[in-house]
Symmetry: C2
Subunit: 671 residues, 2 copies
């Protein structure tokens, strides 16, 4: 273990080591105070982070939202004290030493892992490994796309990532690295904390990859350096910044828990406090005599100078923006598309009118594609894409031009067979503030990107998942491709809007909801197979917005309420018609979104659900439906995996038919 | 596009081209008949598959379950007609030409994607991309582990995989490749269908990886060949088989839809029938004059000779097995551990006794670890592991020795930070027939391996997921690490047993259920934090086995039933005690598994649930609970993501307390 070399910053009378040791001390002391956390990574990467923030990162701590700031993503989110230390040291607004003392405490800004929105300067929520590096691909892509639209004067920044062994072992890292290499995102710079330690012990227990060779194989530039040598770090960063032909991996050989006298280089520094004795020894070894949470004035001054070094660049940029005119201001406004609301509303209205005039039976995925034909020209911030299922998902329109290596002027991304990487990149695109990303795959493959969908919801990002082939209705591809439990499983995620439109009108309405709700992600669950046009007229009102509504009221008092979603709503309608012949008065309720319906007031909900017994039909599992049908209600749906056969035969095989709905109603009607 | 070269097999008067074209014809004709499917891949890989089956694969079609057969995994499962053609041509029992004619039809053996159990010779269910290659890692690992236990005479076989661009773009492929390279699984041979075509168009739209360099970086041997040159294929396979120092990638440059006159090499051959005209042209181009589903006798004979070429090796092996004694027979018996039932029952009983004598409060993850201390010596087939969270998951015991590169004699796998790769490898270990794999990570990271968990359930494999830190009770790590929706989301998967034990006794019982249920996977959701010992005595009966049971009956008729799971069951007990002071008679029901409870007869369920109003408590979302509490019941749990703070404070913050349970009960008791 080599000691970090002494270098002094020109700006202030504090050495590199003092500045790096400030991070180490804050990290070990905060973890100790919390009796919980991860000191090893911040201590190991303190040298790299110090040089990065001091010499490379273009930012202005006074304005964490400056659009042209460099992005810094701590993909190894467990090392959150590294980030919090930097936010405090460089003087981010509202981050005080008390916030570090409250690390991991209730309602603190300094959560166990960096939580987007909890403190300024946290660009994305990290902790689930590999997500940060994949978000960063989206951020770096957003930068290139904005650059193509607005030019170098307004958009020209880097995206830096610190990633650990864990991030690089996760599969999502492959998808991210491969996509970034393909697109040649040359302003993406990944600093790999190559410390050879994992929780179970040395990484040699489980991994032998040559990471440098691996990144090279995916089209990256690479460097390997001593992560405790400030000059090597500075040189590497300078080299990487000077050549934006390809993304950069800088593998930094470090010692986890650097400075700890007996624990440095060991797993024991990874995820638990060092303990008082070891902390005392670390202070001695590092020559850091300040008490816990005290940063000597010269060191703090040096760090604060780093925090304000970008102020001039920021001010110059602001002048250029002010001079650039309204178009640029709109493109950089947050939330994205805020000024296009009327245009989007008009496009949706036009789509609804056009659909009402079209009596063809189509799949909701096809109606969705037609919605996009209307909306895409009205909303340049909208960025389409698919995980290699463009023709199936209907995600691409005639208004789309693909993004390609070297050409970022388009508005459509071929994400490849990378559902997880796509979802995480979409989080990054949304976090950039200036784009509204949507991406498609089959609904069953939400399983492949679920960790990133969850983070869309946790971070409250407007990411729109266009998930087609949403039931056994996809037919012959069979159970591996037939979502049965997925709609239910997605409905369990807080804040996520799961919408399963039933026809053309609802598809347009659900798209409208997804686009206008800036603080929530959406899942659009769309059919492969053609559906009935149940609403022949275009209502000016968005009926789907309340989550459920009465599609057909019963003549006179209801005997039964039939509830359906998506492609099965037509079965409820057919059942109601059959029941009417028996003199049973059935209302039909369409419920495109349970979440939105649950959020309505009790009166509205009671009115829609009624007091008559209820039958629900959906080609998925029953889970979640008892909330709406009650203990004595009936559910017609799936209780097992699907099968491979033409769709019509599967609906019969699994008993999801209008007759079954009618029979269930007959069985519970109180007559 | 080069024509495949003529070579004749020694065994029968049919040329290589005839044999390969038989596959091509069956594939294009079956897809055409089904009006659905993927002809391009089988046509492109027909040459590779022909040489593989003819020259390399050791198998005996007459006995698809021969333990020492080479495994063949079609990771690119959409090319299912390649596999079905081979099964028919080589004469697997019960696979007739009519089965190919029924491709993708209801109840056929030939589902859209290969479904394990639907036909002999399907080693694993594939279709979701990347799963097959990751299953194969588990299979190849199982082979090495059995080899270490039983020796070369009884266990010595290869695992072959055909994977496509899609498989290699998926993140799971990285986890699989990295783990296989680390462990040096030299008898794993991957044939990459390098056809440069994806659904959206040429792969150049989305991927630029140098796959050969990528595999090399992960410690693989590599070769790149013309996938239409039979000699090159044969030579490559011979070379790979001769050197088992590292796993092998053989990149086979192929033309998708090989032989199709206008569509070969295009996306249009990937996922739809070629059409009658193109099929006619293909027949002409290939010189294949036989009508659909007719294989000329000489060609079929040649293929059937391939199917029986392994009969002698099989018979010789059987003699060695017969001579090897009872120990080997037990180790190779299916299902794994069948003869250890009594030993396992005794180990569980001993654990329950020991736990009853131990009044210490411990986390259920710790009780789980102690169960494993008892069970591991009794069940050598049980293979432990963790995705780099061994100390946290409590998956490792003093009876464990890790598997390491070059030493496969152990019984514990350090899977690394590869949840998805772990789960898929466990599927492969289970499918090998001779092992019972369990693996740990945090419950929240079931999201990272959900596609493989789903396949455990779809394939009905006994894979045991030890998922700890199962609620906000994990505390400071915060919402990224706190499962809130995961128990519900897992309960939505058919056939999966989700078990959330409440104390030491239940933890032992849930392990017993997981171990003895050979045809279902299990999730054990275990607490980070210590729980009360609610059952101080060791009951000989497994009370958890019926999914729910009355833990404390009310004195006299119930006023209310309180239902709890896991770490919250103690809150229900405390609430019942508080209610008793108010004269309210509350029964407490423990519900470790909703699935198992749902499967009980109606009488038992009615008896447990009672007719009094019900309150449920679980530190997760409400979804799914209305089935048990009814429309007027109350649920105490989570409705949002968690937060970062000490666990006790979080339970208070989110209102999950005994007082809240008691208050909810008071509000609904009919008094």
């Amino acid at each position: 273990m080599s000691e970090a070399r002494e270098t002094t910053t020109g700006a202030a009378a504090a050495s590199h080591n003092d500045m790096a040791n400030a991070i180490r001390a804050l990290a070990m002391d905060a973890v100790q105070a919390a009796k919980s956390g991860h000191p090893g990574m911040p201590m190991g990467m303190a040298d790299v982070a110090t040089v990065l923030f001091r010499d490379a990162l273009s930012f202005d701590a006074a304005d964490p939202n400056w659009a042209n700031r460099d992005r810094f993503v701590l993909s190894a989110g467990h090392g959150s004290m590294l980030l919090y230390s930097l936010l405090y040291l460089t003087g981010y607004p509202g981050i005080e030493i008390d916030d570090l003392k409250n690390f991991r405490q209730l309602d603190s800004k300094t959560a166990g892992h960096p939580e987007y929105g909890h403190a300024p300067g946290i660009e994305t929520t990290t902790g689930p490994l590999g997500q940060g590096i994949a978000n960063a691909v989206g951020m770096a892509l957003a930068e290139r796309m904005q650059n193509a639209r607005l030019g170098n004067d307004l958009v020209d920044h880097y995206t830096y990532v610190i990633a650990g062994d864990g991030c690089l072992m996760e599969g999502i890292s492959h998808e991210a690295i491969s996509l970034a290499g393909h697109l040649g995102l040359g302003k993406l710079i990944v600093l790999f904390d190559d410390n050879n330690i994992s929780i179970d012990g040395p990484t040699s227990l489980s991994v032998s990859d040559d990471q440098v060779a691996r990144f090279k194989a995916s089209g990256w530039n690479t460097l390997a350096i001593d992560g405790h040598d400030p000059k090597a770090i500075a040189d590497a960063l300078a080299k990487a910044r000077a050549d934006s032909s390809k993304p950069w991996l800088i593998a930094c050989k470090t010692t986890i828990g650097y400075g700890a006298p007996t624990k440095a280089g060991k797993s024991s520094t990874h995820g638990e406090p060092l303990g008082d004795e070891e902390i005392k020894g670390t202070r001695e070894k590092l020559g850091w005599s300040a008490p816990p949470f005290v940063i000597p004035e010269n060191v703090l001054n040096a760090w604060r100078a780093v925090g304000s070094k970008g102020a001039k660049a920021h001010a110059d940029w602001q002048k250029r923006l002010d001079a650039a005119g309204a178009e640029a201001a709109v493109a950089l406004s947050v939330p994205a598309g805020a000024s296009r609301k009327d245009d989007v509303a008009k496009a949706i209205a036009a789509a609804k009118q056009a659909f009402a005039a079209d009596e063809t039976k189509r799949a909701t995925r096809v109606w969705s594609q037609q919605v996009l034909e209307h909306v895409t020209p009205a909303l340049p911030e909208l960025i389409g894409g698919s995980a290699d299922l463009s023709p199936s998902n209907g995600t691409r329109t005639k208004h789309h031009t693909p993004i390609a290596p070297g050409d970022f002027s388009g508005n459509y991304i071929h994400y490849g067979v990378r559902e997880h990487g796509m979802a995480a990149a979409m989080n990054g695109l949304a976090l950039s503030g200036n784009f509204i990303p949507y991406g498609g795959t089959f609904l069953v493959f939400t399983d492949y990107c679920r960790p990133s969908i969850r983070l869309s919801a946790l971070m409250r990002q407007r990411v729109i998942y266009v998930m087609t082939h949403d039931s056994i209705g996809l037919g012959e591809d069979g159970p591996t491709h037939q979502p049965v439990e997925h709609v239910a499983a997605l409905r369990s995620i807080p804040h996520l809007m799961v919408m399963r439109p039933a026809d053309a009108q609802e598809t347009a309405e659900c798209w409208e909801i997804a686009l206008k709700t800036a603080d929530r992600p959406s899942i659009l669950a769309l059919s492969r197979q053609a559906v009935e046009n149940l609403r022949p007229n275009a209502s000016p009102e968005n009926l789907s917005e309340r989550g459920a509504y009465v599609l057909r009221e019963a003549e006179d008092e209801r005997d039964v309420t039939l509830i359906g979603t998506g492609s099965e709503l037509s079965l409820a309608v057919a059942a109601a018609e059959a029941l009417a012949k028996d003199g049973i008065r059935a209302a039909v309720v369409s419920m495109p979104s349970m979440e939105l319906f649950r959020e309505q007031d009790a009166d509205y909900r009671a009115k829609v659900l009624g007091t008559a017994p209820r039958v629900a039909v959906e080609a998925g599992v029953a889970q979640g439906w008892h909330e709406w049908i009650g203990e004595n209600g009936r559910f017609i749906g799936m209780s097992d995996f699907g099968a491979s056969a033409p769709a019509g035969q599967l609906y019969k095989k699994f008993g999801i038919t209008a007759e079954a709905v009618a029979d269930a109603a007959r069985a519970i009607v109180k007559k």
